[in-house]
Amino acid sequence: MVSGMSTPEMTAGLHLIGEQATRAAAKAKVQAAKSISIEDVSVSYALERSARRCVLENISLEIEEGEFVVLLGETGCGKSTLLRMLLGQERPTAGQISVAGSRVERVDARSGYVPQRYSLFPDRSVLDNLMMGPLTSKFHILGRLRPSYWEARRAVKAEAFRQITHMGLQASDAGKYPYQLSGGMQQRVAIAQALMMKNRVLLMDEAFSALDPSTRSSLQRLLRSVWSETRPTVVFVTHNTAEALFLGTRLIVLARESKDDACGSRVTLDMKLAEGGMTLRTHGQEFLDLVEHVEAVSCGQRLTAPGERRTASDAWGEELGRVEPVRVSPEDGVRQ
């Protein structure tokens, strides 16, 4: 018994602890449902003479499980920085990020990752690239000496071949090295490589940006169908509006308040793209610099004149009634 504490006090204390535990469990449950949680995140870098460059400022986002979120914005607006923080590659200057219910401290296997370039290991064949993840997670560096390694390898190999055909590649491509594949084929393998790990979160950084339009379009369709099958949470960074509208169930536009502004990007527009229509949410009174990027949403009806500055809430408030389901012309290669 703890000295100096009466029984009712102890009971109350235990009750409090129980309540805290329940609350923590409930919070964890909510966190788990919210696949990704970004709370008041700011990022700034030190410059010369004690100056700082602010890349992102007070970003808060909740991404639910199974959402396909597209981060859209101009070059240098901080999309990739945000993605790197989700990966754990960079740490925010302020705020915190949680993925799959726990705080992100370092890069680990809770998220799959498909970058724009260098997505495959050049020294491994397609098959070895695909098998690397599952085998590494079960057998670390000296694990190959264990007899169970070969049995596990057989099972993983079968799954790798299934993924190869699922991604529209030939079984004969399994033995090829990445340099023997086209850019599109490499990205197919990279997606398969991430899927082999069966992660619930997939982070893609301009994964299709270096591809020609037709390959890009076919990979967009492939990714969309893969996502429809297993519904992982996807965060996809792009600066291509048509791609964003085709792929995403939710579109987040990052932009600076002003190009001359010393401080960084904010979430300018956060928009749910439902299958039959869409709802729009705006955050605060930010200026909508990227209005030309989202004009396609309203079927070509320009919301504001180029260069004209209106607050996002004003612009969207007036135009909400005119917003229609996403329909973009076929030549844009986006969802009909």
Binding site: V107, P115, D123, T136, H140, I141, Q193
Partner: protein, 286 residues
Amino acid sequence: MTNLSPFDIQARPNRLLAQALSCVLFVVCIGLYMHTSVERHKENAEDRVVPSGHQLVAGIRSAVLEPAEEDDYIPAESASTWERLRHSMIWKDTASSGGRFFISLALLIPFVVLAVHIGLFPWFGAGFLRFFLFFDKIVALSLLPILFIAFGIDQWSKIALIVIGVAPTMILDVTQMVKAVPQEQIVKAFTLDANNFDVAYRVVFRQVLPQVINSLRLNLKPMMLFLFAGEMIAASDGLAYRIAIMRRHMGMDVILPYVLWVALLLFLIDFSLRVINRRLHPWFQA
């Protein structure tokens, strides 16, 4: 079809012509040597500075089939050619120098591993990089007296000289290779549940290995240079020791075959490493 001048960047010789061109300088060198030798032998039939073909053959024969002066003589009639070869001067010297060379090569492996860590693990980098940057600037030959005092004049002083001479450069080189591995690859490996050592050895080391082998190929000559420096100053056997001894006797008929033999050995080691690299890392050639 336009005939391009041979001095045009866009002009390409056909394969046969290219091979013939690559032989020209060899032929010129041999021709010049023979001419000089003949001219000198006209003046002095016993000239040993530029030995004639006969003198060279005799020199090669004695190096390949006869033991060194300090060793026991094996009578030609009672021993087989193979046995004479095994006790020959060139074999003994090649074995001694080769042993030192390959022990040094093996001792460089831990330094390559250290370099991978320096390039990959920031804490290792912080601890070691500046030290090796400084150490690289120390002229290894200036340490030779210290090495002779520390290790004696036996083979370990020469091995230490090679390692001290080559290791810092290789460490800095490999560190740069490791740093050049795209960050995306390292991040990707971590997302595939690799731990630190998986990333270091299964991802990064595998990717830089062909470049490490190429770096080693480039360092073969400096390694031999340090070995020769050590052997010429203090040794009782070895290829450079023999060249130094023969210089005292003006034994160009032995020195020249030794020089060509060392070049051939280095060429063969380099060629083997190139073939191994190509076979083991077909992806690297792309």
